[in-house]
Symmetry: C2
Subunit: 143 residues, 2 copies
DNA sequence: ACTTGACTTAGAGTTACCTCTAAGTTGTAT
DNA sequence: ATACAACTTAGAGGTAACTCTAAGTCAAGT
């Protein structure tokens, strides 16, 4: 069973050692042992680090992650509560994805808008009175 | 052509008036006129507010949104640059969605894990030596 | 023995994005 | 005329999540 220093873990998880110490201070890594004052990470700790990463990446605040960690530590009595947290998080992700897809549409419109404008050499092509391509610049009404 | 106070706009856009003033201070709303020192929003301002919202919702920092706004103000010379910003943002969103979907899988596993554990009444069902369902509690090796 | 480099701590600083406060002004309703 | 709500400003305060600093400890290599 391997042992790892903080910076080995940091590299593996793609965060800084500073950040891991910060997580530890915030109570997110209560299982980490210390030898001569130094943190020693074990193979089985990576499972939790992966969960931590997953919750963080999906936007859960560190405080809630800590609360989840505390529930895990309490054992079987908290199974339902933990399931609920995961179900909520899944719902939150689904909502996020929907929102991103919706905003993507707006972006796609903008991309089309700029592509057309670049073709025409000017953004004015999109203003109301320019929609008629037969209209020459000097024929465009002032307002 | 309608005119709107800051709090009308705030409600319509789902942000606080405080926040709109902050955006103005940060240079994100350079077009807003003032009458007697008070901001007056016009119908056409909502188009930009929608774009602002879209970029913000998809994670663009306010500074970059401001930069984009400045490019818009400069006119046709910046069309290519603005197209590029939109293309980059689209790519960023796509990456975000992929990442969320990936993390969703981890979450789905956890949901399954807790559902099984709740069925069994204990999380121990998932530990290695419990994978054999014919094994009775008193037959489980100690370590 | 000494240097090197990774580790430790408490705590200060940073960035992004608000969020609020205080003191004052203005427009509208009664 | 007066009250009242909504607006204004500059600037302070807040929160999340780092990020860094200073001063020190420890273990391994030469």
């Amino acid at each position: 069973m391997g042992k790892y220093t903080i910076s080995e873990v940091a590299e593996k998880m793609g965060v800084s050692a500073h950040t891991l110490r910060y997580y530890d201070k915030e109570g997110l890594l209560p299982f980490v042992e210390k030898v001569n004052g130094r943190r020693v990470f074990k193979d089985e700790d990576f499972a939790w680090l992966r969960v931590l990463n997953c919750l963080k990446k999906t936007g859960m605040p560190l405080k809630e992650i800590r609360r989840y960690q505390e529930l895990c530590a309490k054992g079987d009595d908290t199974l339902e509560e933990r399931l609920q947290i995961m179900l909520n998080q899944k719902a939150a992700i689904e909502e996020k994805i929907e929102l991103l897809k919706l905003n993507m549409k707006e972006l796609d419109y903008k991309i089309w808008y700029y592509q057309k404008a670049i073709e025409a050499g000017t953004e004015k092509i999109h203003s109301e009175h320019m929609c008629n391509p037969t209209l020459e610049p000097d024929e465009i009404p002032d307002s």
